[in-house]
Structure formats: C-alpha cells, structure tokens
C-alpha cells in the first residue's frame, strides 16, 4: 500500500506542482515585497483594492444565481423524469445542446438584449443571465437524481389519497434536498468565477465582481501593485476553495448520478 501510494503521488506530482504554482507565485510576490507587519499589508490591500464591495457583489450574485437556477430547473427536471410525453426526447436534446452555448459567442446579442431591458451595468442583469445559462445543466443534474427516486413512493402516496401538490411537497422536495444543494453549488461556482459577461455588462466600479476587480487592478495600468493584486486573488479564491474542502465528495457523487442517467 505504501509503495503504491508513493508511486501514485509521484505520478501526480507534475500536475499538482503546476496546480499549486499560481498559489506559490501569489504568496511569493506578497512576501518578497512586504516584509514585516503582514496584517498591515492585508488591511491596506483590502482598502486600496476596494475588495470588500467586490466580494459582496460576487457573493450576492453567485448566491442569487444558485437559488434562482435551481428553483427554475427543479419542476422541469421532475417533468422530464416522470412524465412520458411526445417531444420529451426533443426537449432533452435541446437542453443538452444549450449546455454548449457559451456566453462569449452570444455576448453581442446578450448585451443588446440587456440594454433593451434597461439593465446595463446592473447586478440583476448578471443574475438573470447566469441563472439562464445554468438552467440546462441544473435540469440535467436534478433529473439524474429524481430518476433515482423510486416512483413507487409517489404511487403509494397517491393511493393513500395524497394530492399532486402534497406529493411534490412532501416526497420529491425533501428527497431532492441533497441534489438541490449540489446543483446550487455548481451554479454558485460558475457565477462566482464568470468573466466575459461581467466584463461586457458592468461599467461602474461599485458593481464589479471579484474576477473583474482583479482584472481592473492590472489591465491598462502603467504601475501595477502586484502584491495587492495577488492578495486580492488569494482572497477571491478562498470561498470556492472552502466549498471544495467540504463538498467535493458530494459534488462528485452528484455528477456520477446524473451522468449515469444520461
């Protein structure tokens, strides 16, 4: 076991080193420039980069996206899992197809649409678009889970005289909670880290999300304060890293279930 473990770790080492390299660069950059009082650096960086407001923006947008996309997707996932109807196959394929749409190729049309709605430079526009882009994936994830809930449960409840609403509320919803959490986590991560739409739709610095803030600290400037930038990058990565520590097992299991159902 020990020999095999060492062998596997050795084989993974080059990839792990490359993965950790950006973190090493960030920490190295900070410590090379700032010796002495590190808490003064972090506090100063926090103010100079206006990181707080971006962190709030990103968290609010990502959380709203996670909730909205999951709630919109759940009924459709249930319908596709349980109902047998003409066009079901076509809907599934359309969903799979839309999953391949990326924001960049639609960015012009999207920005026209958003300006037509009067939502340019608002966080609401990002929540709307992120949620919509996330829905196909969310439907697909949730459907895999619901397929795994035995339909006999519902039939038994129906025999006992439960209404459709009761079935949805007291059987499907509680049993889907883990699936909802996993699906919402994926949506959160995607929205938290999105770049192209934020770059195109946001103008005012007070609306910037974290990726946009990090970019704005470096792009088109003569003098870049790199330790500040690296500090901001590290803080910006923390929320999702922490989620990974706690949730990676559930995320993998969720994907497995959904892939199995495809």
């Amino acid at each position: 076991m020990l020999r095999r473990s060492l062998l596997y770790w050795g084989a993974l080492l080059p990839l792990l080193a490359l993965n950790l390299f950006p973190f090493a660069v960030a920490i190295d950059t900070i410590y090379r420039a700032k010796s002495g009082d590190m808490s003064a650096f972090w506090a100063g960086m926090w103010v100079r980069t206006e990181l707080g407001i971006s962190l709030v923006n990103s968290l609010v947008i990502a959380l709203a996206t996670a909730i909205a996309s999951t709630l919109v997707a759940l009924p459709a996932a249930y319908a596709l899992s349980r109902f047998r109807f003409r066009g079901r196959q076509a809907i599934s394929e359309t969903l799979l197809g839309t999953q391949m749409l990326t924001p960049i190729m639609l960015v012009l049309g999207l920005s026209q649409m958003v300006s037509g709605m009067g939502l340019t430079d608002t966080r609401a526009a990002l929540v709307l678009l992120y949620s919509a882009f996330q829905v196909p994936f969310a439907v697909w994830m949730l459907r895999g889970y619901i397929d795994a809930i035995p339909i006999e449960l519902e039939e038994a409840a129906l025999l006992d005289g439960a209404s459709r609403r009761q079935i949805l509320g007291s059987i499907i919803l509680p049993l889907s909670v883990p699936a909802l959490l996993v699906t919402a986590t994926f949506a959160f991560i995607t929205a938290f880290n999105e770049f192209v739409l934020a770059l195109t739709l946001l103008r005012s610095s007070s609306n910037f999300t974290l990726p946009l803030r990090v970019n704005a600290l470096t792009a088109g400037r003569y003098a870049v304060d790199w330790p500040d930038v690296m500090g901001a990058v590290l803080i910006a990565s923390l929320p999702v890293l922490i989620m990974f520590v706690g949730l990676q097992r559930y995320m993998l299991r969720g994907l497995r279930l959904s892939l199995g159902a495809t």
């Binding site: 359309t94 459709r164 790199w226």
Partner: protein
C-alpha cells in the same frame, strides 16, 4: 392510476414553463438579435441601422487576418483538448485507485477549478513577465537559464504558455467526468477478468477504456466547445497580441466588437461560430445516441 400520475397536460406545461423561458432568454432572443445585427449596419454604440444583406459576411470573408486566426483557433483547440485528455485520463485512473491521501490528491487536482480563470490568467501573466519572479528564479536555480527572461516576449512562447494554462484549467472538469465514469463501472467485472488471468494492461485496454468511451466522448465534445470559446486566458495574457499573433476567433470577435466598434461584422462572426457549434451539437447527439458506433 398511471394515467393520473403521468399524464396531466396542464401541469406538464406549468412545470416546463420556467425552464423554457430561461432557455429562450439565452438561446433564442440573443440569437435572433445577432441574426438581425449581422444583416444590418450597426453603429459602434449598438444602434441597429439599415438592412445590408450579406455585406457584413462579405467583409469578414475579405478580412486579411481571418485565415491565420482560423488556423490558430484550430491549433489552440486541438492542442488544448489533446493535452487535457492526455493528462486527465491517467489522473482519473489514478484517483480511482485506493491509496494513502487520495482525498488530498483529489482536492489538489481540483484546486484550479476554485480560482476564476481570469485570476489564474492574471497570476500567470505576472509569473511570466516578472523578471525577478518565482519562475525565473527557479529556472536560473535549476540551471535552465543563465539569466531571467521575459517569457511573454515572443509570439510562439506566449501562445505556448496560453495553451499550457488552458490545459491546466480544463483538466479538473475533465478528470471529474472521467472519474464519475470510472466509478460507474462495477468492480466485479474486474474480479472476473482477474480470475480469467487478464493482466492489468489488458484490463485497461479491453475493459476500462471501452466502458469509459461514452464519458471520453462527453469530455471531448464539451472541451471542444469550451476551449474554442475560452476567452479570458488569451485576453488577459496578451490581448491577442502582439500584432494579432495570438488571437483566436473569440478574442478577435471581442476586439472587433468592443475595441474597433465593428459590431455588425462581429455579429456576423458570432453567427458563423454558432453554426459551427450547431454542427458540433448534432455530432454530439448522434454520438451519445449510438455510443457503440462511436
């Protein structure tokens, strides 16, 4: 009873409606707007003017930069997808085994997923341009370099690093999908194969890889779609420069639209990209429907 549970048209429509609206919001409205823009004159502020027919497409066809960019997009997609696959498959095979510290290894493999691609690109840009930075110090200390160099100085080197970073960014997702595929393979068929005297190499070649094939296809197709459209790495590292030397279709599209203000031509280019994607999607659905012939 089956009827009551499974066939209720009004309820069905009600359940599907929210997702249908959301899908229309990204897949229908913007596409129609793009079609309209691509066939009209559009001012640099986005005001849609007179109908001009295929003129925007004709101007794109005459764009002297486009052939090289198209070729570079092909090289970009091909090398990133191939590189990702070559790393993700063995990584998933290893992570599917039992060994000490597997949870930690898995976390470190997934770690790049936690950083936004934009931040990742910013850090790499600094690492590659900072002459006193970690990369140069390591390279000098290892005897690879006599003195620090600016890594983003030449087009081939810049593009090479952009490919490397894109691979690193794509590996976590691909590994996760393959890992999900691997764990769906029942363990007892391996036991049976082992009893029959199949060696590890044979088990990999005749059991694992064939059973994994649908998942490999999923990874390939999604990576092709995502990598062709991956924008932040090139945008942040080199903005497609120097002299359009690292532009791919999507960075050029963004430049056309938001740097040069040629929104109508950019819309035409978007439409062409969408057609390419549609073709890829049809291919994907065919493949997933008939995995045996894949």
């Amino acid at each position: 009873m089956q009827n009551r549970l499974l066939q209720n048209r009004a309820l069905l429509l009600l359940l599907l409606a929210p997702s249908a609206v959301a899908t229309a919001l990204i897949a229908l409205v913007p596409v129609l707007l793009l079609v309209r823009m691509s066939l009209s004159e559009v001012s640099r502020f986005g005001r849609i003017g007179a109908y001009v027919g295929w003129e925007n497409f004709a101007r794109l066809a005459e764009d002297p930069l486009l052939p090289a960019i198209l070729l570079r997009t092909g090289i970009w997609t091909g090398s990133v997808v191939a590189g990702t696959m070559l790393i993700a498959l063995p990584t998933a095979l290893i992570l599917n085994e039992r060994f000490l510290g597997r949870g930690l290894a898995q976390f470190l493999v997934l770690a790049p997923w936690a950083i936004s691609v934009a931040s990742m690109a910013v850090v790499w840009r600094h690492a590659l341009t900072d002459e006193g930075g970690l990369l140069n110090r390591l390279a000098v200390a290892a005897g690879l370099l006599d003195r620090p160099i600016p890594w983003l100085g030449s087009v081939p080197l810049s593009f090479g690093f952009e490919i490397l970073i894109a691979i690193l960014v794509s590996v976590p997702f691909s590994t996760v999908i393959l890992l999900a595929g691997l764990s769906s393979i029942p363990a007892d068929i391996y036991d049976a194969a082992r009893l029959d005297g199949a060696r590890a190499v044979d088990r990999l070649k005749f059991l694992t890889l064939p059973l994994l094939r649908p998942f490999i296809w999923i990874v390939l197709i999604f990576n092709i779609a995502y990598v062709t459209n991956s924008f932040p790495i090139i945008w942040i590292l080199t903005q497609g420069g120097p002299a359009n030397g690292t532009d791919i279709l999507v960075t050029y599209l963004y430049k056309l639209a938001f740097t040069f203000g040629r929104l109508d031509e950019a819309a035409a280019l978007s439409i062409l990209l969408l057609c390419g994607l549609a073709a890829l999607t049809v291919l994907m659905l065919r493949t997933l429907e008939h995995p045996a012939h894949a």
